[in-house]
Amino acid sequence: MKRFSEKGVRRILTATAFSAIAALTLIVIFILMEGLPFIFRAGLNNFLFSSEWDPQSQKFGILPMVAGSLWVTLGAVIVGVPLGISGAIFLSEFVPRWLMRIIKPTIELLAGIPSVVYGFIGVMVLAPLIRNHLGGPGLSILAASIILGIMILPTILSISIDSIKAVPNSFREGALALGATHWQTIHMVTLPAAKSGIVAGIILGLGRAIGETMAVIMVVGNAVKIPGSPLDSARTLTANIALEMGYATGMHRQSLFATGVILLVIIMVLNYIAIMAMRNIGRIK
């Protein structure tokens, strides 16, 4: 009887695990089936490297959106990563344990704020500030970068804290015993030892930044042009799909699925690079 229930539980768990994989596979197959024929018909060159997007006159070039996505994601990393890593060092090395127990859950709460709220704050507070002090339309790459940087902060921070905390205390004690100062210990011993975890945190944050849609649509302005400065408005790949999917029919609809294919490829390449980077770090260590 016991063995029977043991087996039953195992089967159910296997089925659940496979349903997750099946869902992923189905999504990928569906997007490819809808998007690839369009890419073949229009030609990858015309699709990816043309900067004219005007579905009404059959012009489907997504270069501005690719550029927009890269700008915004890069901006989010510039804002979020230094804040995240330095915050993690401070919280895990300089703050007493009892205080950490209060601060860390508070930071993780940030991750629970719906993205539309971030977007709303961006539109109401950030965009007017940028418009009045730096010029431009306000709804800009800079605004999106700051908002996204804050949005990915909890991910980077909490994973970095966990991996710094996981560094054995004997490492620190060894460094201190050799005469290293507290800061020397941190940047020469603790951080290198925690590197792979920190990189994982950054990559997960990157994934969130590139995939974020709602908050970005609200603050980035969505202009279809290759941005020339952080104060310009731009459109990301995700925003392009979300903005136009409601109306799109025929070729236009297929081109949005093709945009999804490009997004999928970019995210897969990113993850691949991340996995490779993490492996290499492991080897050096």
Partner: protein
């Protein structure tokens, strides 16, 4: 991390499965209860959706034997679902119906003005059609060229495929939107952006003007309800109800109700312009 991720995905799928089962049961239950009623679906334009819902409520009160479901989705969805038959009536508010809508029978049930709006701080009160064209084409880049302050113009438009945008461009003509234009995805967000940005210009549905933004006259004629009804204001688009073939049965009854005097009064009372 990977384990954690897979677990959360599995949890999500489980939740989705559970909610799918619940909604399936609910759907069976509801359809069982609804049996015996003649039911039709109306889908399309999000601008007209709230009015259609109100009209459907009133219609169902008068005809307890019928049930009308109103769905949004946008004008393109309205046209598609009327063609495919998933909706008995498609709603579309476009000046020019796309070629695929030729197979459908259009009935104009209301009209809607499109109004150019700027921030109340802006001194400009009137633009000519030519100036509007030049602003949205990116030829005029500064408010001083139209009699305003020396400030850059921020053009705000809608996403490609929006009924409001295609109607606006069809009436103003020869617009190839300047690439620097900010794109917002609804009438409401256009209004918010214009209310917040003193350099901006946008356009939206006549029914959505409020005190936070300023409506501009076009060629010296303001977009008031009277000017739209008497035909002197030019930025007006029709709201179509589209059916496959001549409407019959419940679809005909509902459309007849909307274009009846009572239906048109409800449309007028809620800020839209009657069909005639």
């Amino acid at each position: 991390m990977i384990g954690y991720h897979a677990r959360s995905v599995a949890m999500k799928i489980k939740n989705i499965l559970i909610s799918a089962i619940i909604s399936l049961i609910a759907a069976v239950f509801v359809s069982a209860c609804g049996r015996g009623k003649a039911s039709i679906t109306v889908a399309g334009s999000t601008a007209f959706q709230p009015f259609a819902e109100k009209l459907a409520d009133n219609f169902m009160n008068a005809h307890p034997d019928s049930s009308i479901t109103v769905q949004g989705g946008g004008s393109a969805v309205g046209i598609q679902s009327a063609i495919s038959g998933t909706a008995a009536i498609g709603m579309a508010d476009l000046v020019v119906l796309p070629p695929e809508a030729k197979v459908l029978n259009p009935v104009v049930v209301a009209r809607d003005g499109i109004v150019l709006v700027v921030n109340p701080k802006n001194k400009v009160n009137n633009l000519t059609l030519q100036q509007i064209q030049d602003i949205f084409n990116g030829k005029i880049k500064n408010w001083s060229q139209t009699g305003g302050d020396n400030r850059p113009i921020t053009v705000i438009s809608r996403e490609a495929g929006s009924g409001t945008r295609s109607s606006f461009e069809a009436i103003v003509k020869n617009i190839s939107l300047t690439s620097g234009a900010i794109i917002q995805d609804s009438n409401g967000t256009v209004r918010e952006t214009v209310a917040n940005d003193s350099n901006s210009i946008g356009y939206l549905s006549h029914g959505l003007i409020n005190e936070k933004i300023k409506a501009l006259s076009v060629n010296g004629i303001s977009g008031s309800t009277e000017n739209i009804i008497n035909g002197s204001y030019i930025l007006v688009r029709p709201v179509y109800f589209l059916t496959r073939g001549i409407p019959e049965g419940k679809s005909k009854e509902f459309i007849d109700y909307i274009i009846s005097r009572e239906g048109q009064e409800i449309i007028k009372a809620n800020g839209l312009i009657p069909a005639k």
